[in-house]
Amino acid sequence: MTHPEPETTPVLALEEVSKSFGAVRALRGVSLRLYAGEAHALAGENGAGKSTLIKALAGVHRPDAGTVLLDGAPVEFHGPADARDAGVAVIYQEPTLFPDLSVAENIFMGRQPRRSLNRVDHRAVKRAAADLFARLGVDLDPDQPARGLSIADQQLVEIAKALSFDARVLIMDEPTAALTGSEVARLFGVVKTLREQGAAVLFISHRLEEIFALCQRVTTLRDGALIGSEPLEGLTEDDLVRRMVGRDLDELYPKQETEAGEVALQVRRLTREGVFTDVSFEVRRGEIVGLAGLVGAGRSEVARAVFGVDRFDGGEVEVLGTSLKPGAPSVAMAAGLALVPEDRRAQGLVMDMSIERNIGLTGFAETTRAGLMNRKAERSRSVDWAVKLQVKYARLADVVGTLSGGNQQKVVLAKWLATGPQVLIVDEPTRGIDVGTKAEVHRLLSSLAAEGVAVLMISSDLPEILGMADRVLVMHEGRLTAEIPRAEATEETVMAAATGRTKEGSAAA
């Protein structure tokens, strides 16, 4: 069976769509056609523009250029409600629920069944939610508030929401990331039924085998540009990866072999009530240790606690033999620890300040004499690091908010490398930056490790973890579930530990 481009009109399509956010060009002239009865995969690395594309289809973003076509006719979605009314259902990567409202209300918000006088029929809402859960085979109470649901349960609520109306187009952004095997199988069953009933499906997943199992056609994006749209039949996983990455993997993940030295960061039985429990690990000089896990598993929270941004309730953190005081980032910095946080816009940078001053933020001890800042010293320190990391800027006094994502990330890295850290924690170091800069960041991390810095790298980008880490630690629901040496780390072993499907290998050092 082959799948040539059908002769029929696509249900929903994008033609030459572009979208920019400030200096970042998220989509550049991308076209996509979704046909009834066909499951279409969208492939691309983190930051390739997949989420932006979905939001353009869902009416969240309005394209700067190009058109959205519904049944062949141009439409303008003025908001998510318009897209929804056109029959487009979206399951977002990160669940967006109303924590204060019941699960049932979350599913039917804005579309509640009504009785006389247009009143909401609360009982029908509850019944319909229970029916949906039965269809999906999940055990959730429609009355339960969404607050406190695990990520997996939240994802199931999102799926139920998307299935709750007869969608003509079902868009799923990594719906399976947090689900167990049986839940995935059931979801795929439901999706297949919908597809056979004539719905068009757009599916995004990092698990390539899922793409091959579910989809007939694939569109690949790289750095916001369309690489190709073709039938999946005849393609191999390697073909797909090559299209996504656009270069050899060796070049993207330039991992140097290093000799692990003394223990630089030692974390013992670290616990923060209700967030993570009993986390123990060590990072040696010269090592890059990957910390993998699903969104919400508690990885960033561990990093924040280690660095002292958050307090911890129990356990111990030692940097090069000295025990750190909980909740004191300045002590951690003095001990040689640096944290490049997950969200560079909110946590890593002061967006309205210049490059120079952002880098200078970590250097007051060096650049201050008798309580007065030496602006010249700050400037030369900043220039040194900006040049070393090849930040592309017009003037050092430029506001960082005007830089592209990749350059912003370099400024954050410069800010922390300028402190001369012995232990570097990087949280999602390449999220939302282009492939070229990504490779540069990887090269930088690798050479830091070679110089004897201990690196702890948190990442949701599995190929990055597999490509860069000497050892992989995996967290699931606030616990460390596995420690996998480089040689044994594969997509399967890491994902199995991250979803809690196996509890083996939990013999953390």
Partner: protein
Amino acid sequence: MTMTAQPVRSESAPRPTASRQFIDKVFKARELAVAVVLVVMLLATQISNGEFLSEQGIKDLLLNSTILVLVATGQAVVVITRNVDLSVGSVLGISAFAAGNYLQSGGNSLIAVLLAVALGAVFGALNGALVSLGKVPALVVTLGTLYVVRGIDSIWVGSRQITADGLPSGFVDFGTNGISVVPYLALLTLAVLLCVGYYLRSYRSGRDMYALGSSPEAANLAGVPVRKRIMTAYVLCGALAGLAGALYLARFGNVDSATGNGYELTVVSAVVVGGVAFTGGAGTVYGAALGALLLTSINSVLPALGVSSVWVTAINGLLLLLAIAVDRILALRVAAVLRKQAAQMRSARHD
């Protein structure tokens, strides 16, 4: 997991109903708790001072609280959407004067009330437009309109004053009379309260208000018309402040340029004490009304107990802090229970 853990888990696998019930109770209990505090306080006062709950005493209590309840009802809707309206005191003042001014020049009572409501709604729409279109924090915007409206009021009113003898007697009677001990004003307020409460609970747009306050981003993705709903909330709040202005005129028959000064903070306190989350998404107008009732009752209780009324402000403040502290502790408790429950459900499902 080890084999030995299995039987223990499967026993605890069924849905943990006890914790569910606890959560349900916590959310429903908030209004109840305020009501209990209110009743206990009134009864205790009655026991130490037999005069307190006389016919006139009850009537005064209800009359005194109606205006605050009305404004708190509107405010609660705004707060549920994760916004706030600080301009209610000024809007109440200017609406009261507008209605009085119209009545003094021989106007019809009903039209005077409608005029006050319409004026309030206009100011509400102004607030709503600034907050939803300008995307400026509501606290700042309504602080601005609070002063602007008060300024307009001062210029317009000057040193003039509305007094009861300039008003139609029917209008003044409506403000003081009632059916046995229940004043007309209280009945009107109760009717408004029930309507708004029913609207929030049983209409899509009412549910949207909660959605909006609970997570603005999710509301946007769910297709909730965010701007329209914020607008609705502010117009409703402004209209109720206007109506409260008319009732104020009927009740006191005396309005000048300072009427309603400083009222906004009492209103916000009442709403928060009544269990409406200041971060939006949770609470009911009934709770807000009970909070308003509680705060006004303290005003009457203290003199009846022979305590100087200078204490009233401090006690109101203390109640506010107490309410927030209770909210915080409960939120932490609830989060802990939910987490435990989720963990149980999960391990049950994975088996």
